[in-house]
Amino acid sequence: MAEAPKPSSSVKLVLLGEAAVGKSSLVLRFVNNDFQENKEPTIGAAFLTQKCNLPTRTIKFEIWDTAGQERFASLAPMYYRNAQAALVVYDITKPTSLVKARHWVAELQRQASPGIVIALVGNKLDLAGESQSTSDEGEGEDGGDARKVSTEEAQAYAEEESLLFFETSAKTGHNVTEVFTAIANAIPETSLKSARGSGAAGTANRAGEEQRVNLSGPRDAGAKDGCAC
């Protein structure tokens, strides 16, 4: 991790979306390049970090993965406060999750920092018919096309609201790093706090920071490498 000269800056990113759309799975895929049942109890929000190397600079994402339960929604302002980026996730097999996503977009546009970069992400692409081939594990999803939200509909909405838009699969890893790279590129240079987090004193504590950090617990997840982007 010692790419000496490249300027590095940290970006606070928050994940929002209905429960079970795959927020935690996306983060896990991005941070650990892994897909598994989430064993980590999330109280409030889980905090993770991951670096993203762009040609000209390094972006360190400080990721807040918010808890799934509906009632935790009222805690969300705590986490999106001062966030520079947000991933609003829905599940392409569940139309109501897009409704919820629209809600979060509206909430962020009104309540979050003005320059916030928002990406709309339709997850579980592997369940859609056309990409059936990619689901190598064949998890017994009826085999048919489970897609209920068309790409066009979501895309049109994203354009209307000037959001980045991706369809991903945390399961196969499809498009996941692309989302984060696109966000990293979309963050305006000016809104980057210079080297937030590369302060002298900070570095000592930050050994092994590119791990899943359970903000409340002593249990570690495995270490991993920097992001591939």
Binding site: S10, R71, L75, E209
Partner: protein
């Protein structure tokens, strides 16, 4: 159960001695004091402080301390003895809960628990645990009781032992209490105790059952321990308890506890001495942990109240599903997954059952993530049933609001924590602010999961040990200590991430030495966790229950406001496509109005209930003694921010909701006369109006129809979504066709596209109802007056219409024209006409009805085309000659909703005769009930559009009359003064003209005459029509018409109108209230009997009452002679 007992006790007190009331008041149930009492002793909410008295507790010397010269004669503690319905409690904390006690003495937050738990030395004995009370022979003026408990005698009910004597190994628990008070006060206390003891006798069985699940009973067994399986002390028994027992010195702790419990009583009968608190601070031994948590948290008393609640609940809801259950299921595999017990089906099963059972008994909370972790932790040390009750003690008392649907408790305590950090560690706070780290993202999980998920389990349990006895302030103290200890490093942490990793590594090393480099081996032995505890409880000893309470109060509003504005944004955004028809401001206002009405009604309900209680008390208490009996802690109930109160609007709330926006929705009787008339007579204070300070809402069939229409799922309650959709349809479209259609559908009961004769009359009534306070909105006076003048002059047989009349007056005319036209163009309801009915049978109107299908579709897209056609229709219609008198007659029906219109000047017989009966009937063939008829939507539209005023009513007046945003300003008499709102004078008062928007002062004598005609003649016709319809109806066996009609007819027959409907609605309330206030005794009795009947069998209850009665008699007899006598009372259960 105990609540029933309490009723019995109270009732008994009244029966025994009427003057008791005076004394009772001394410690009567002031709700707030009662709750202080309950939290001091961790008692169930059924318990209220009945008596208290200064006393000295003497505990005899124990085996272990025998020979110790200091305690050769035992221990003595001065303190207060309290008596509630089913408990006797002693504490050295000088708290007082009498009515006269100051708040500070009631909440004297001293001692370890600062009033939030069993503090100081003392005991909390359920009365059923007391076996015998003797009055001791002692010196003058001394009043001493010797109390013997069931301690050690309850275990193993199957092998009954004959009393304490036979079991030599169990030392009888016998304590002495010297009462310090006037002889009278002492006697009184003893009388109360006696009654409580009698009532408690029946609960010894329960006590036995509850105690059998306590590990202490097994621990202290003296015989054949090996053959008996111990009570369930949690998953730890099978899967090992976390931590190394050697390192935890579990055996030593167990021995200390065994000794303590032997000397001081166990579980229910435990007496707290200073050692008790010390033993807790050093950490509880594994197998006793669950039981001590139960005792200190008070959940043991909840379990005693209803020992089978847990299993009963599971049985009751077996096989049922819920959202909470789905959510629980998702989390079962991620609740302390590292503990072996939760890798097994056994542990997962227990967790599932406890969480599920709790979600059923407390549906408001249901299930909240983090509860899984907390319960999982509890289950390591206690049985399912114990964990179930402890969870309920947590949610209700220890961390209220933490797991509610808005989690306001969690957010509030984060604010409190932040302000404590700011106050105690200003430098760190400044750093946090500067580096933009939000503390609560770090600390929220600490609080929400009670540190269980933050620290290694062994340490988290140590925190819990103290937390259960000392209350929520412990969470704050520990949190502050964590920050203080890590202060240096945290000051170097530049952001969230760094902050989190500092703390994470701290938690991971809690078992290391706090001073690894120290020369002093003792110091080196101190672990970081021990250091944490010391810092928490020494350095932050200033953080007390009262300082927390204060900060909570201070921050509550802003926290709730934040939650509410978030909830509001969310709710409004989720309102669906219809809501887009309204502006964001309108939606915001609707949201506020909706919840305000619900909130205020809830508040009012509560106040009325309290007032009733107060009134009930008044009859037996002096006024001065019942002052200031409000419960401040409950005032907020119902706020959105506090989580689920109701979010459904019933019909009455709906009326109130409308009355806040629309003047037509305000009752005519409400202003000055009304309330005095209806409520004043009952001597109900103003604050008790069921409508609060607002005006009394009107009651009208129209409102009922709107309510039913909005109530799409027929649940007799409206959601915010229902209300918004409903209003959006009326106000949002700004489309006259839509509004007309809406109105029509409101009256098309069976959705067949037809409104019958009755419906037509009702529509007219509604139009009058809606316009009776004047029309609003933009009416173009020029155009309408032309159209109208034509109409009215044609209808006016006298031809004396003044040139200037107000819109409202013209509207009256329009309505009568409306009826006339409706009947004129109505289609007969004949089978042979079925296919051709839409084309009507009226001669001249063939072309009017050219394309009924276009009309029937009635959607926006068709409007343009339609309108063109309609204009032609209108032309055609204007040409058709109006049947003059008919119109006048019909109007009267419209007036029937207003009672006043009938008993006012309408009895002007002369004017009544002005229109001949013959003439009227001739023109009214359409009214003949023998020839049923109906109008269709196109006809209805045509008729509406034929009249400019009606058109404008639908286009603007009606939608505008819903003042969503601004509401009704000054709700003064000018808005709902009775004279304005009725036709009682058969005309319009000057006020009404001032009210009218197009307001030229007009009218005068001539107009009045016209109106007289309209009204009086119309009234007569209406009566006639009704009569004939009823006849026809009778022939048709009554079921030909909607049942609703029958009721309304009764109203009409009784010559009452809307006002009566209102009165009827309100009178049920009044009746209830007055009955309750005047017949308190009866009700109390009924209450008591109903209550006890539910829990215990009827005869048993009677028996209890009898017993108490006898006891009363005996007490009287004895009271003189027992001065210094022997046993006051002896129970051998």
């Amino acid at each position: 159960m105990f609540s029933n007992l309490s009723n019995i006790v109270q009732r008994a007190q009244q029966l025994i001695d009427p003057t008791q009331g005076l004394n009772l008041s001394n410690s009567d149930r002031n709700p707030s004091k009662a709750s202080l009492f309950q939290s001091q002793f961790r008692l169930p909410s059924s318990q209220t402080p009945l008596y208290e008295i200064n006393a000295e507790l003497t505990i005899p010397p124990s085996n272990s301390t025998r020979g110790d010269p200091d305690h050769d004669r035992g221990w003595h503690y001065a303190g207060k003895l309290h008596l509630s319905e089913a408990y006797m409690c002693f504490s050295t904390t000088p708290t007082s809960f009498t009515q006269s006690a100051s708040t500070s003495t009631s909440s004297a937050f001293t001692g370890q628990t600062n009033g939030s738990g069993p503090s100081g030395s003392g005991f909390t004995f359920p009365l059923c645990a007391i076996r015998r009370v003797e009055r001791l022979n002692s010196q003058n003026f001394q009043f001493a009781l010797a109390i013997t408990t069931w301690n050690g005698l309850l275990a193993d009910a199957s092998k009954p032992r004959d009393g304490s004597g036979s079991n030599k190994n169990v030392r009888e628990q016998r304590i002495t209490i010297h009462l310090a008070g006037t002889r009278q006060a002492c006697e009184r206390f003893c009388d109360g105790l006696k009654r409580g003891l009698r009532a408690g006798v029946g609960n010894v069985g329960k006590l036995r059952k509850v105690v059998a699940e306590c590990y202490s009973e097994h621990l202290l067994r003296t015989d054949d321990k090996a053959n008996v399986s111990p009570p369930d002390a949690g998953l730890g028994m099978a899967f090992r308890y976390p931590g190394d027992p050697k390192k935890l010195r579990d055996r030593a702790k167990m021995r200390l506890w065994a000794e303590y419990l032997r000397d001081n009583g166990r579980n229910m009968m435990l007496i707290r001495q200073p050692t008790f608190h010390k033993l807790i601070r050093v950490g509880l031994p594994n197998r006793l942990r669950g039981e001590i948590w139960e005792v200190t948290s008070g959940s043991l008393y909840l379990r005693l109240e209803n020992p089978t609640l847990y299993t009963d609940t599971l049985a009751k809801y077996k096989g049922q599903e819920s959202l909470a259950i789905d959510e629980i299921e998702k989390d079962l595999n991620r609740s302390l997954p590292e503990y072996p017990g939760f890798q097994s089906e056994e542990g997962i099963g227990r967790l599932r059952r406890v969480l599920t059972a709790y979600s059923w008994v407390n549906a408001d909370v249901g299930y909240c993530q983090a509860m899984n972790i907390v319960v999982a932790a509890l289950l390591i040390y206690m049985s399912e049933s114990q964990a179930f009750f402890l969870l309920s003690a947590l949610c209700d008392r220890l961390v209220p609001g933490y797991y509610s649907t808005t989690m306001y408790g969690t957010l509030l305590d984060q604010k409190v924590f932040e302000s404590l950090v700011e106050k105690t560690m200003p430098i760190l706070w400044e750093h946090l602010v500067k580096s933009d780290v939000q503390l609560s993202v770090v600390s929220l999980p600490w609080f929400l999961s009670l540190y269980i998920n933050s620290m290694p389990l062994v340490f988290a349990f140590r925190v819990l040990d103290v937390f259960f006895v000392e209350g929520p302030k412990v969470l704050f103290q520990v949190g502050l200590a964590i920050l203080r200890i890590n202060g240096e490093e945290l000051l170097d942490a530049p952001d969230d991430g760094a902050f989190i990793s500092v703390l994470k590594s701290y938690f991971a090393r809690l078992d290391e030495s706090a001073h690894p480099k120290s020369e002093n081996p003792k110091l080196r032995a101190v672990t970081r966790f021990q250091e944490l505890m010391v810092v928490a409880f020494k350095e932050f000893s200033g953080v007390t229950h009262s300082s927390i309470t204060e900060l909570r109060l201070k921050n509550k509003d802003s926290v709730l406001n934040n939650i509410e504005s978030f909830a509001k944004r969310t709710a409004i955004r989720n309102l669906g496509p219809d809501s887009k028809l309204l502006s964001p401001e309108e939606l915001g206002s609707l949201y506020d109005r909706f919840y305000n009405v619900l909130y205020e009604r809830q508040q009012r309900d509560r106040m009325i209930q309290e007032e009733l209680k107060r009134q009930a008390k008044t009859s037996r208490l002096r006024a001065s003694e019942i002052l200031a009996t409000t419960a401040p802690n409950e005032v907020e109930k119902g706020r959105v921010g506090l989580g689920p109160s109701t979010s459904l609007m019933d019909y009455d709330a709906f009326r109130e909701f409308l009355a806040g926006m629309s003047k037509w929705a305000i009752s005519d009787s409400s202003a000055n006369g009304g309330e005095a008339k209806y409520y004043g007579a009952k001597k109900v204070p103003d604050t008790m109006s069921p409508w609060g300070n607002g005006p009394e809402p009107a009651e009208h069939e129209f409102l009922q129809r709107v309510f039913n229409k909005w109530d799409v799922d027929g649940s007799s309650a409206l959601t915010l979504q229902n209300v918004v959709t409903g209003i959006a349809r009326i106000k949002g479209k700004k489309d006259i066709m839509g509004t007309i259609t809406y109105f029509f559908e409101l009256y098309d009961d069976d959705n067949d596209g037809k409104v019958d004769r009755e419906g037509i009359l009702r529509i007219s009534e509604a139009l009058l109802f809606l316009s009776r306070r004047g029309l609003e909105g933009t009416l173009s006076p020029g155009a309408s007056s032309i159209g109208l003048n034509g109409d009215i002059s044609a209808s006016d047989s006298q031809g004396s219409l003044p040139p200037e009349i107000s819109t409202n007056e013209r509207f009256l005319g329009s309505i009568s024209a409306f009826i006339r036209r409706c009947f004129e163009y109505a289609d007969p309801d004949h089978p042979k006409n079925q296919d051709g009915q839409d084309f009507g049978t009226s001669t001249s109107d063939e072309d009017l009805m050219v394309d009924p299908n276009t009309f029937a579709i009635g959607d926006d897209e068709d409007d343009e085309e339609e309108e063109e056609e309609e204009e032609e229709d209108l032309l055609a219609l204007e040409k058709s000659p109006p049947g003059t008198p008919t119109k006048a007659k019909k109007t009267a029906n419209l007036l029937s909703p207003n009672e006043e219109s009938f008993d006012g000047a309408s009895t002007d017989n002369e004017s009544r005769r002005r229109v001949s009966k013959a003439k009227a009937e001739a023109a009214n063939a359409a009214l003949d009930p023998a020839h049923p008829l109906h109008i269709t939507l196109p006809t209805f539209r045509m008729v509406v559009l034929a009249d400019e005023i009606l058109e404008q009513f639908f286009e603007s007046s009606f939608p505008t009359s819903l003042h969503i945003i601004e509401g009704l300003q000054a709700p003064s008499s000018s808005y709902y003064g009775p004279s304005l709102t009725t036709f009682s004078n058969l005309g319009f008062s000057t006020r009404s003209q001032a009210q009218a928007q197009s307001g030229p002062m007009g009218g005068g004598r001539g107009l009045r005459g016209v109106l007289d005609n309209i009204v009086t003649d119309g009234m007569r016709v209406a009566t006639e029509v009704r009569r004939r319809m009823e006849e026809a109806q009778r022939e048709l066996e009554k079921n030909a018409l909607p049942s609703q009609r029958t009721e309304d007819d009764e109203d009409d027959d009784d010559d009452v109108g809307v006002a009566v409907g209102v009165r009827k609605g309100a009178s049920t309330d009044i009746e209830r209230r007055s009955v309750m206030s005047t017949d308190r005794d009866l009700l109390d009795g009924a209450d008591a009997q109903a209550g006890s009947g539910a829990a215990s069998k009827g005869p048993g209850h009677d028996h209890n009452l009898l017993e108490v009665d006898t006891a009363a008699g005996r007490r009287r007899a004895n009271s003189a002679s027992t001065t210094g006598g022997s046993a006051v009372l002896e129970f051998e259960g």
